[in-house]
Structure formats: structure tokens, C-alpha cells
């Protein structure tokens, strides 16, 4: 009798956690960090040879790719060049090129030839290398405070939808970074270790506690229920029961 609740609990828990882990293992992610701008408008329209720069950008984590949100006016996409350089027109750090032919409203990732390091402050410039115009989607300037889009040195009062990427890995493989990210802007006593500890406690400790609770509950006197469906015995008799 005692083992039935435990067996049911363990089967559901093990199967459920296994499915969740499998899903996480198949969930590919590549995000290093993002400006967090939601696409709401055309932040910069670039004619042939036009350049738009998002500046400055704090590099939260190293990256070797940049994902854009590009409109092509219902035509095949134009080639784009992306340059990452130190903020304030500093030296170039990395470059990349997006080939033509991508669809309208695409979110292509431009691979860079070098890695930009965490802690730097950079600007990210997108140049239209084609012969037709393109639109870079973004949001109003307040979408990302302390950063803006400039074209030919003029503030556009907008921000680009920009995501900075690393090599794609499963969500499980990102766990160290996820916990490191979660530990920023937290109390001083919270660190990456806190999240590792919590994962261990939730995945191992919580099932153990609940398994013990079920065992105790159904192992107790009259704990298995009488199966007659009655809501209660005589209510006054339950005076000391709660």
C-alpha cells in the first residue's frame, strides 16, 4: 500500500523532469546579450553606401556575431557590412558581411571575423553594400537609454534591434552563463553558486522531501482514506482533528 503513492510520484516526476531536460537539450541558444529593443519602427533607412551606427554599446559578454532585423521593401535583401569598433570612432575590433538574397523582415545573423570582448564599450555600424535601400528596424531612442543610432554623425533618436551572439549551444550548455547572468544586480550574498545550489535542491531535494511526505502521509493511521466518498464524519467529531 505504502509504495503506490511513491511509485506514482516517482514515475511522474522522473518522466516529467526527463522530458523537460530533453527539451532543454534540444533548445539551441546563441544570445550573448541584446540591446533589448522591440521592433516598432524603422530606426534607420539606408540607401546604397549608407551607414548607421548604434553607439555606445556596453559589451556585457564577448560576442562574434550580430543579429539584425532588416526590411527590404519586398525585394531580395541587399548585402550588408557590419563593423564593430571601439566607441568614439576607435579602432575596428571585428567585421562581418551579410550576403544578399535574404527575405524581407528577416533576422539574419552576421558572423564576425573576430571576437569582441566583454567589458568594452563599442559602436556597431551597418553599411548597405548593395544598390537598393534597406530598412533597419528598431525602436524609439528611449528603448535603450544612453545609446542611440547615428547616421553621418547625426543622432536619429532611435535604437536598432541588435542581438549579439556566440556559438549556438543547447540551453543546458548555457547553464553556467545563465546563472552568472542571474547573479548580477542581486544581493551581495547571491552568486553563481546560489543558483547551482538551488538547481540541486529543486531537482533532488524537493522530490526527496515530497516523496518522504507522501510516504509519511499514506503510512499514517487511516491515512489511506476509506474510499466511501464522504466529505467528513460527523463534523463536531472533527473538533480535534485539524
Amino acid at each position: 500500500m505504502r509504495s503506490r503513492a511513491l511509485i506514482a510520484f516517482l514515475v511522474v516526476t522522473v518522466v516529467g523532469v526527463a522530458v523537460a531536460l530533453l527539451s532543454a537539450a534540444r533548445d539551441e541558444r546563441d544570445l550573448a546579450f541584446t540591446l533589448g529593443v522591440a521592433p516598432g519602427l524603422v530606426a534607420a533607412e539606408l540607401g546604397p553606401g549608407g551607414v548607421a551606427c548604434q553607439t555606445p554599446v556596453d559589451v556585457a559578454e564577448s560576442f562574434d556575431g550580430v543579429r539584425l532585423f532588416v526590411g527590404t521593401f519586398h525585394r531580395p535583401g541587399q548585402p550588408l557590412g557590419v563593423t564593430v569598433r571601439r566607441a568614439g570612432r576607435g579602432g575596428p575590433i571585428a567585421k562581418g558581411r551579410l550576403p544578399s538574397g535574404y527575405p524581407d523582415g528577416a533576422r539574419p545573423t552576421v558572423a564576425l571575423d573576430a571576437t569582441a570582448s566583454a567589458g568594452e564599450q563599442v559602436e556597431v555600424c551597418v553599411r548597405n553594400l548593395g544598390d537598393r535601400r534597406v530598412a533597419l528596424f528598431g525602436g524609439p531612442e528611449l528603448a535603450k537609454r544612453d545609446s542611440t543610432v547615428e547616421i553621418a554623425g547625426r543622432d536619429q533618436h532611435t535604437d536598432l534591434v541588435l542581438e549579439f551572439t556566440q556559438e549556438s549551444r543547447s540551453a543546458l550548455a548555457w547553464l553556467p552563463e545563465i546563472f552568472d547572468r542571474a547573479s548580477v544586480f542581486r544581493p551581495v550574498w547571491v552568486g553563481t553558486w546560489t543558483y547551482w545550489l538551488l538547481v540541486g535542491l529543486v531537482l533532488l531535494g524537493a522530490p526527496a522531501l515530497l516523496a518522504r511526505a507522501l510516504r509519511d502521509a499514506f503510512g499514517a493511521t487511516d491515512g489511506s482514506g476509506d474510499g466511501d466518498g464522504s466529505l467528513a464524519g460527523d463534523l463536531p467529531q472533527s473538533r480535534t482533528q485539524a
Partner: protein
């Protein structure tokens, strides 16, 4: 010593469940970025204003939130992040160090200069809430006074999460009161409260709903005790005090009043109190436990020229032309029928599913984070089965024998639901705005726990064990999935 005696008095399965709930609460509290729970900026702002200035947020003032609060929100990008799946919280160490340097230069007024309102007419949206929950949150705020804002915010979350333990324990007691001492059934019911993902998420944020859930649970338990055992001074005072806690937490607490009045009347009748001056005097202390604190708050609100209850501005906008309350209610729960004026564009096809199932079981962050679709189907079916099972259990146990208790609990549910629908209907008519959210039903979660226990009690003992084990396991898996989805949304 007292703690040991208390722990010894609690059944061990309940203690183990409460430890699990506390563990999950801590996980939610520390995982969710600052102010990424519904209305958390407003609730934190209220608590800080109360703790720093000794008064609730004002309707006229200089700053809605403190300098410290605004600077921290800007540093982490919390306003930009709210509801925006393109955004992530700031996790750059350089930005964090800049924030630390900035806040190191703050004077004491940077914490205390948020008075709840700005000169341009803006104000703290939580200002119309009563102050009890925020006073409760002042405890961790003061304990963490020597830490930075994030130290205090997360202490407040962890402290708030403890309230769900109260709700789970009260649900255990409620089930014990109705089904007798059957730890297996009590564990199943209390687990529905202590492991439900939305309840733990909301409970582990700075949000008065945490206290409201606990107050409803305790009130339902004590109300059933008063009805079952008869009114005594002690249990009457306890019931009324719990009701006062609900009322002083959020205006939703007023929904308890009709049911509590019924419980007091039924309990008094059972105790032999009749309408005689001497007998009625015995009912005075319980009523005073309700009237004095609530009356004190109402008087304070009146004297300080502030609203005593949450006020929803139902006018001033472009109203929605609809066919009346019956049509609204029909379309809330059922597909619309030909010729019926539809609800406004943007309203879910069947709001009851969107709000009362999906939003009730799990929509996280600012509601932008959803569980996988099939899980909503499972919890929807599960909820329906539990409610239907409770109905069957009630009928089989004898409606006459438990009629008053059923009326009491039903009145709690109906009053809350009725209040929510009335508010939304008025808001639709006045401003064409949607009001309801799934979390507003969380105070009724103990009833779902009771329904789970009652439904399980219908089964043969062996089947009870299987169902209990599977249900508790499912709730734990739901928690783990929800935590994983929320972690991936914010940090991957």
C-alpha cells in the same frame, strides 16, 4: 523552544511540504529579475515610501518613486524589459559596477524622496491599496537597511514567500476540518496551494496578493471551524481578525464579508446564541476584531483625504457598446452566439480560458511568459475534474449536512468572482479596457486544494495513493518546467 514545540505540533508531511514550498519560493524570488512580476515596481515603491516616510504614497507630491529606485530601474532596464520578449535584464558587470558607484554617492534622501506622486499628476498605481502588506514588508526592508536596494528587494521577496506557507498550512487545516484527519488527502490539497506555479511566483514577488491568498485560506479554515464547532469568543475573534487582514491588504478582501457574516450567524446559532441582548454581547468581541482595524483604516483614509479602497476609474474613455451584463458574462465563459455584440477586439476568444485557466495556473513575468500549450490543456482538464469531483463528493456526503459549509465556501467564491466581473464590466462599459487577470483568482486556490482532496477521497484507497502521488509529482514537474522557462526567457 517555542519553534520546536510548534514544529512538533505540525504533522510531518505538512512540514516537508512547507519546506518544499519555501525552497521553491526562494528559487522564484532569486530567479526573477527585479520588478519583473506584475506591478512589482508600484508595490516596492509603496513599501519603500511607507518604510522611509511613515506614510502611504500620496496623491500629490514630488516623486513617484525614490531616486534610488528610479536609478536602479534604469540601470537594469526593468521598464524596457517588462513584457518585452526582445529584451533581457542588464547583466553586464561593468554596468553593475557603474550602478554601485552611483548608489554609493546617494544621500539618505535618495531612499526617502519617493512620496508616491509627481508634479505632473503621475502617481503610484498601488497607492489606493490599504497599508497592511506594505507594513509587513517593512520588516525585511529594515532588516536589510544596511544593504543596497537589491539586497532589500530580494529580502522582501523571500519574506513575502513565507505567506504561501501560511496558505498551504491553512488549506491542510481546512481539509482536516472537513474530511477529518487524513494526512494523505490533506497533503494533496495543501500541495495544490504550496506547489501551484503561479501562486509561488506571485507569492515570491513583492505583491499584496501573497498576503491575500494567505488571509483567504485562513479565513476559510476559521469560517468552517466556526460553523462546525459553534461560535466562541476565541474562534470568532480569530475569524474576524483574519478577515480584517484580508480587507486591510487589498479591497478584494471585502469579498469575504458576506461569507464571514454567514459563518458568524451559523456559528452563533450552533452555539445557542439567540437574538437577546445578553447573548448578542458575546458576539461583540469578534466583531470588534474586524470593525476596529478596518474602521481605523477607513477613518485614517478619510482624515488624510485618500481613497480607502482601490478605485478603478471607469469613466473618461471611449466606452464599449455591448448588449449588457448577461451578454458580457456569456461571452466570458462561452463562445459568442450569432447576433451577439462581440467583446472588444483584442479580448481573448473565450476569456475564461485565457484568464481563469492559463493566467491562473501560469503566466509569468508581466504575463508575457507562458507555459507550453499542452500543459494548459492538462491543467484545464485537471481543474474541471477536481471541481466536478468536489461537487460529487458534496452531493454524496449529503447536501443538508454540509449545506451551510458549502454555502459559506460558495459565497466566498461567488463574491470574489462577482466583484471581479462587476469591476471588469464597468471598466469595459466606461473605458473599453480589460481588467481581469488569472492571479486575481488565486485567493480561491485553497478551494481548489479542497476540491483535490475531496475528489481523491471518492476513490478506493489504492487509487487514492496513485492519484495523490501522480498529482503531487505533476505539480512539482510543473514548477520545474515553469522555473526553466522563466530562466530561459530572462537569461538565455
Amino acid at each position: 523552544m517555542k519553534f520546536r514545540r510548534l514544529a512538533a505540533a505540525l504533522p510531518r508531511p505538512l512540514i516537508l511540504l512547507l519546506v518544499t514550498t519555501a525552497l521553491l519560493g526562494a528559487s522564484w524570488a532569486l530567479l526573477v529579475p527585479p520588478w519583473q512580476a506584475p506591478d512589482e515596481p508600484a508595490h516596492f515603491g509603496y513599501a519603500q515610501t511607507l518604510a522611509e516616510r511613515g506614510e502611504p504614497p500620496q496623491t500629490e507630491g514630488e516623486r513617484i518613486f525614490s531616486t534610488e529606485h528610479d536609478a536602479a530601474a534604469a540601470a537594469i532596464g526593468s521598464d524596457q524589459l517588462a513584457g518585452n520578449l526582445f529584451a533581457r535584464p542588464e547583466w553586464g558587470r561593468a554596468v553593475y559596477e557603474r550602478w554601485r558607484a552611483l548608489q554609493a554617492g546617494f544621500g539618505s534622501d535618495a531612499r526617502s524622496n519617493g512620496d508616491g506622486a509627481s508634479p505632473d499628476g503621475g502617481n503610484n498605481s498601488a497607492r489606493t491599496n490599504p497599508p497592511l502588506y506594505y507594513a509587513f514588508e517593512a520588516v525585511p526592508y529594515y532588516v536589510g537597511a544596511g544593504t543596497d536596494l537589491f539586497g532589500r528587494l530580494y529580502l522582501m521577496r523571500l519574506w513575502s514567500a513565507l505567506l504561501l506557507l501560511v496558505a498551504a498550512a491553512a488549506t491542510w487545516a481546512l481539509i482536516g476540518e472537513l474530511l477529518g484527519r487524513r494526512p494523505g488527502l490533506q497533503l494533496v490539497g495543501a500541495a495544490v496551494v504550496g506547489l501551484q506555479p503561479m501562486a509561488v511566483f506571485v507569492g515570491a514577488s513583492v505583491n499584496p496578493d501573497a498576503m491575500l491568498i494567505a488571509a483567504f485560506a485562513v479565513t476559510m479554515w476559521l469560517g468552517v471551524r466556526v460553523i462546525s464547532h459553534g461560535l466562541t469568543t476565541a474562534n470568532g475573534i480569530a475569524l474576524c481578525a483574519a478577515t480584517a487582514v484580508a480587507v486591510l491588504t487589498k479591497a478584494t478582501g471585502y469579498a469575504l464579508l458576506p461569507a464571514v457574516a454567514l459563518a458568524l450567524a451559523a456559528g452563533a446559532w450552533r452555539a445557542g446564541v439567540r437574538v437577546r441582548p445578553g447573548s448578542l454581547a458575546a458576539a461583540a468581541p469578534p466583531l470588534l476584531a474586524l470593525v476596529l482595524p478596518v474602521g481605523g483604516w477607513l477613518l485614517y483614509a478619510r482624515l488624510s483625504d485618500r481613497p480607502a479602497v482601490n478605485q478603478i476609474d471607469v469613466g473618461g474613455g471611449e466606452g464599449f457598446d455591448h448588449a449588457g451584463p448577461f451578454s458580457y458574462l456569456w461571452q466570458f465563459y462561452l463562445p459568442d452566439i450569432p447576433g451577439q455584440l462581440p467583446l472588444p477586439t483584442g479580448y481573448p476568444a473565450i476569456p475564461a480560458i485565457d484568464f481563469w485557466i492559463e493566467g491562473f495556473w501560469g503566466k509569468f513575468g508581466w504575463l508575457e511568459i507562458e507555459l507550453p500549450g499542452p500543459l494548459y490543456v492538462v491543467v484545464g482538464v485537471l481543474s474541471a475534474v477536481l471541481i466536478a469531483g468536489a461537487g460529487v463528493a458534496l452531493v454524496r456526503s449529503g447536501l443538508r449536512r454540509h449545506g451551510v459549509v458549502a454555502a459559506f465556501l460558495g459565497l466566498v467564491a461567488l463574491a470574489l468572482l462577482g466583484g471581479l466581473h462587476l469591476t471588469e464590466y464597468r471598466l469595459l462599459a466606461g473605458q473599453n479596457a480589460v481588467f481581469n487577470q488569472g492571479r486575481y483568482l488565486l485567493p480561491l486556490l485553497p478551494l481548489l486544494g479542497l476540491a483535490a482532496a475531496a475528489t481523491t477521497s471518492l476513490l478506493r484507497p489504492r487509487s487514492q495513493q496513485l492519484v495523490a502521488g501522480a498529482l503531487v509529482g505533476f505539480l512539482l514537474v510543473l514548477q520545474i518546467v515553469a522555473l526553466a522557462i522563466v530562466g530561459a526567457r530572462f537569461y538565455a
